[in-house]
Each structure stands twice: as C-alpha cells, then as structure tokens.
C-alpha cells in the first residue's frame, strides 16, 4: 500500500526530474536517479513547497533525498486532505 500523498509527490518528481512517473518508486533516491542532482533537488523542494503550500526547514531539506523520506516529511507537515 502506498501512502496518500505519494501519487502527488511522484507526479511532481517526474516533471522536475524528467523521469517517467512509472520509474519512480518509494525506493527512488538521489543514488538511484541520475537526474537528481543538487540543482534538481532545489527545484523539487520548491515545487513541493508550492504544491503543498508549506515551507521546509533546512534540516528537512537535507533529509529529503529519497521518495520515502519526502513522503514522510510531507506527511508530517501537511495533514492528509
């Protein structure tokens, strides 16, 4: 079972990292996706902040280097709708 925000996060990641959504799983990370460099990381963070209308702390941003961790941080900050 995937967490509720996963689909939204995945489609944003697919756009920003320019990877087909089908290739992105909870295990995808900066290690497994070649496009996920520091510039794309920042773009991804900003896209997520806009989508979920929130602002992440620097500590959170440093941690959000895999889909699983992004889902976890977003889940904590944004109450499920």
């Amino acid at each position: 079972m995937t967490p509720p925000a996963f689909e939204r996060i995945r489609s944003i990641a697919a756009d920003v990292l320019q990877v087909p959504a089908g290739q992105i799983t909870l295990d995808s990370s900066t290690e497994t996706l070649g496009n996920w460099d520091s510039v794309h990381h920042l773009n991804l963070i900003l896209a997520l902040e806009q989508e979920f209308d929130t602002q992440f702390d620097p500590e959170e941003i440093d941690k959000m280097t895999s889909m699983e961790r992004i889902v976890e941080v977003v889940g904590r900050k944004v109450p499920p709708s």
């Binding site: 489609s11 944003i12 920003v16 510039v39 920042l42 773009n43 900003l46 902040e49 989508e51 602002q55």
Partner: protein
C-alpha cells in the same frame, strides 16, 4: 479541460505531428498551471516541438550573486509560450566582475543577445544594508560613490566586448531601516542613500545604449518586502526569496524579453460595451452606461487611463464593436465620462460583422501584421472566436471583474517598450493624418495629381545619436517594405558607422497633412567602384507615394560622389516582405545572380541617372558629413 486532460491532449498531439495545436494546448496548460512542475513539463514538450514551430531563438546570460536556478525552467517555459526559444547560461556565484572584465570569459564565449546582472544590496553593499546606523556620513558617501563607480566601469568594459543588451537589477531597500523610525526623521536616511544609488543606475542606463535598469526594489515592494524573503533558504542555499516569489522575478525578466525579442503588440483593438464602459450603449443609452469617477463607472475610466498611457507609448488604439455605429459614435464623442477621444483611435470597426474578420481589416488598414495586434474584449466567446480563427493575435484574458481590467492591461508584457522615440509618441497622430490622405486620394483621379497635391518633402540625414533609437527600432520591426530584413541593435549601428565601414541614413517624410516622422533607413557599404545597399527599409505608412524612389535617387547620388559606378543590392525574400519584391526591377536594376537566400540586383550608375520624382522635394542634412 482539467490540467490532467490538457496534459493527455498534449501527449496525444505531439506524436501525431500536430505541433501548432500542441503548442496552443501547452499555452492553455501554462495559463491554468504555472507551477514549477508544470514548467518542467512545458519545457520538455517544447523541446520536442521546437523544430516544427517558428520560435525566436534568444541567448540570455545571467550574472548573479545568488541562486537563480529554480527560475530558469519557469522562465524558459514562459518564454516558449511567448514564442521565444531561450538558451540560458548562468555564471558562477559572484563571478560577475571577472566575467565582465575578461574578454575571454565564458560570458563572451557564449555570445549572448542579452545579459542580466542579478545582484542585491546585501551582496554588493553589505555595509549599507546592515551597518548603516554605525556609519558616518563620509563612509556612506564613499560606499555609494564606489558602487556607482564600479557599475560605470563594468558597463564600459562590457560594451567594449559585446553589443548585447544589459539589464541591471537595482538596489533593494531593507524592509525595516537599521535606524527604525529615526531613519525618516533626517535627510541622510538609509533609504535616501540607496535611492541615490538607484538614481545613478538609471542615469547610467539613460546614457548608455542597450543598458536598462530592472527596478528590483519596486518589484520586492510590490509583492511586500516582508513577504519577499526566505531567510532560511538564503542562509542555506543562497536563494533569497520564497518559492512563490521566484515566479514574480521570472515574470519581471519576461517583461524585458518581450520588447527585446520584438514579441510586442503594435496596436490594441478594444471592444466598447462592458469594456470601455459598463453596460450596453444600444440598450442603456448615454445616461445608462457606467463611466465616471465614481463606483462602478470608475473601473472603466481606470481602463481608459491605462489605454491613454499605451497611446502615449506609441501603441495604436482601435475599436472593434458590435453596435449601431450612430449609438457608439455618440458615446465616443459626447459622453462626459470618456477619457479617450475619437482622435485616439487609428481605426474603427463598429458593425455586426464577426470580429476575426474585422481584426484582419484593421491590420490591413493600419499596415501592420495580424500578429502585431492585441485584442481586449470582456466577452469570452468573442475572445475564443478570435483565438481559434486568428491564433497570431494576442488575446488578453480578462476576468469578469472590471475593477481588474486596467491592471491587467498595465501588466501585459506585449505593451512593454525599452526605448521611446519621438515617432512613438506621435504615432497616433500620424495615423489620423493618414485617414485624411486616403480621403484626398479618393477625390483625385490621376496618380500624379495626387502625388503633387501631397506636397511631400523627404529629408535625409546621416545617423546621429538623436535618431539612433528610432533607426534601430525600424531596423528591428520593419517586416514588409524591407529588402534584406537584417536586424541591427543600436550598439551595432553605432559601431558600423563610427568605424567608417558603412553609411547609415535616415529618411523623414513630411507632407501637407503633417510630419510622418522618421520612416526610412538605408545602410550602404562601398568597396571601390561598387556601392552595396546592405539595408533599405521603409515604414509601410509612406510606401506607394514615391518617396522610396526619392530615397534611392539620393543613395545613387551619394554612391556616385564617392566614386562608385555600380549600385547593388540583395532582395532576401521572407514571409512578409512581398511589398518590396519588385523594388529593384521597377527601378531599372538587373538581376546578377540568384541563390537559395535571394537575388542580387545591380544598376549601372553611368548609364542610368535614377532621378528623384519631381513632386518630392529632397533635402539632405550634412549629407557628406560621414
């Protein structure tokens, strides 16, 4: 359609080769969703389409003291939608001085069309931003003058290495001055010190061709100084603003790109009922329509004020309205709430014909392309009809609330201009005189009698600093009567003529109805006995009245004086310059050769005198000064 449906439609259109349709749906998607993820999607799709669309390539370099990476996909997406295929190069952080000073730098190797210098007060003048309350008046003075001195020297160095346009961000004011309320109780405030720097930057832009100021301070203030910053991202990632504000900075850059790339509207066609006034004149009558300084008529007066500002900027105004002409004319002439007057409109179509057809007619009457029109109408059905039948027209999207109309017009980047010539400011009057000329032509039967009755004077002068802005504008905007359609920036024109490699002449035409302004440009290069016409162009509003022949006769004279025996010139056909096609053959030139780009024409100056028509009085100002 929902965003998801639009995306699916795009994914279907691209592989089936329907590029134009795909690009229209991409524009619709971007209008609904201009988020960062949408930007990446839009950019990736346009990259697949770019070969099949007629996009304007443009190279932009950004020199910066902070992180601008997240703005780049946003900017490229918005530029693609505007028809611009943007290649962006970013400098290293804080490397702008080396980039500008070193002629071998990556900046100059990139060969940019335009360069943005994106810096902020706290990077360039940290002391003025942070330590103001501890600084003496002398220290403030020396800091400020050092900064303006630096900018002057950077701009000078920049100009020696490139002709590119340069956009300078000016200096932001702090949200709360260092000295609190005290700051504004004296005339040596932090605010005035920063204002002083900004005034100096604007003077620098006014003095230097192709250098412009982006009012970063006003941009931040418009969106709220305290809402602009994201201190955490600044401290950890050197990104000074919030995610939302990256969009605002991107849009400000885009406002410059429109005039820089010529993606601008020359005329705005407006509807009347519920657009220029509230209500329907045919039903509500003169007393019933809403148009005054009070609510709700004030919204429409605000819009009329915005349109007057466009008129002053040289943008033509025209009316396209479904109405009984008598009702509408009565309101235009006599309603006390009208700020606009009949004389402000260059063309009127008040009838019951469909608007797409009327817009085609208006473009023809004004001698401009349909793609130079913008269209303002409160009725979404009319907008859709125009959009679907005339996709080149810039249709301005209006929400239902008229209180927003004026602001939307003011924010529209297609009306931006970076320089303003005397011709721009008087353009509306020229078109009014043209209407009178057309009426005269209809009452006179012979062409020659008509030419004589016009009493035309052609005044030719070498390029001067005073005419540079207008000459460059003509070189970049004239599409129809333009033999080679070579585009030159102001800086390139200056360089060409001051080096003596080329001669550049401008043509001003006057007649009994008034001054048409500076309407023609010619550039010639002479090598031994052959004088080549590099550029010959004229505004369409004077074509067909034989001044083009007068201009050519001057060029022939000039060439002869400098020892030439042949006058030569290329005709390079484009989609739009058919009006210039027969110019050389009809003036006794013979074709020398023809290739894929066009045809070269030549005239023997000894055998053929190339006279000036007797009904045009030719005046040459300092014709031999160059």
């Amino acid at each position: 359609m929902t965003i998801q449906e639009l995306r699916q439609e795009i994914e279907r259109l691209i592989p089936s080769g329907e590029s134009a349709a795909a690009s229209r749906v991409l524009a619709e998607l971007w209008a609904q969703d201009s988020s960062a993820s949408s930007a990446s999607f839009v950019v990736a799709r346009f990259e697949q389409l770019r070969e099949k669309l007629n996009l304007r390539p443009y190279r932009l370099a950004i020199l910066r003291s902070y992180t601008v990476e997240p703005m780049i996909p946003l900017l490229r997406a918005a530029a693609f939608i505007a028809g611009i295929d943007l290649t962006v190069q970013l400098s290293e952080f804080n490397a702008y001085v080396q980039e500008i000073v070193d002629p071998e730098s990556l900046l100059y190797k990139f060969n940019p069309d335009a360069v943005i210098l994106a810096t902020q007060t706290r990077d360039l003048a940290p002391e003025l931003w942070r330590d103001y309350s501890r600084m003496s008046a002398e220290q403030v003075q020396s800091s400020s003058s050092q900064i303006t001195k630096d900018f002057r020297s950077w701009v000078r160095r920049f100009r020696t290495h490139t002709q590119a346009h340069l956009i300078l961000h000016n200096f932001e004011q702090p949200g709360i001055p260092n000295r609190g309320l005290l700051d504004d109780q004296s005339n040596d405030s932090q605010r005035s010190a920063i204002e002083q720097i900004n005034r100096e930057l604007s003077s620098l832009a006014a003095e230097t061709v192709g250098v412009y100021v982006l009012d970063y301070d006003a941009l931040v203030a418009r969106h709220g100084r305290l809402q602009w910053h994201d201190e955490r991202k600044w401290l950890t990632m050197r990104l000074p603003m919030t995610a939302q504000n990256t969009h605002h900075l991107m849009k400000e850059w885009l406002r410059f790109l429109h005039p820089l790339t010529g993606k601008v509207a020359k005329a705005l066609v407006v509807d009347l009922d519920n657009t220029l006034w509230g209500g329907v004149i045919g039903e509500d009558g003169m007393d019933g329509i809403k148009l005054s300084g009070e609510y709700p008529g004030a919204a429409y007066q605000e819009l009329q004020g915005a349109l007057l500002d466009l008129y002053q900027r040289g943008i033509l105004l025209a009316i396209c309205s479904k109405n009984n002409p008598d009702d509408a004319q009565e309101a235009l002439r006599n309603h006390p709430g009208m700020l606009l007057e009949p004389k402000h409109f260059a063309a009127l179509r008040i009838n019951w014909i469909d608007k797409a057809q009327n817009l085609r007619d208006i473009a023809k009457e004004l001698n401009i392309g349909v793609d130079a029109l913008a269209f303002l109408d409160d009725n979404p059905i009319e907008r859709e009809q125009v959009r679907s039948q005339l996709s080149e027209v810039c249709v301005i999207e209006l929400p239902s609330d008229p209180m927003t109309f004026a602001r939307i017009v003011r924010e529209s980047p297609v009306f931006e201009r970076l320089t303003l010539s005397a011709e721009d400011q008087q353009r509306g009057e020229y078109y009014q005189a043209q209407r009178e000329r057309d009426e005269l032509e209809q009452t006179i039967t012979s062409r020659e009698d008509f030419y004589r009755s016009l009493q035309q004077e052609a005044e030719i002068a070498p390029l001067t600093k005073g005419t540079l802005a207008r000459v460059s504008q003509l070189a970049n905007k004239t599409n129809q009567f333009n033999l080679t359609t070579r585009r030159y920036t102001e800086a390139q024109l200056m360089e060409m003529t001051s080096s003596g490699n080329a001669h550049c002449f401008s043509l001003r035409v006057k007649d009994r109805f008034g001054d048409n302004g500076l309407v023609g440009v010619a550039i010639t290069r002479q090598a031994e006995s052959v004088c080549e016409i590099d550029t010959l162009l004229m505004s369409c509003r004077v074509i067909g009245r034989t001044v083009e022949t007068a201009f050519l006769s001057f060029l022939a004279d000039q060439a002869r004086k400098h020892g030439a025996t042949r006058l030569e010139g290329w005709f390079l056909p484009t989609k739009k310059n058919a009006p210039a096609k027969d110019f050389y053959p009809s003036h006794g030139f013979a074709m020398v050769k023809e290739d894929a780009t066009g045809s070269l024409w030549s005239k023997d100056l000894k055998a053929d005198s190339c006279p000036c028509p007797e009904w045009v009085r030719l005046t040459v100002l300092n014709g031999d000064a160059q």
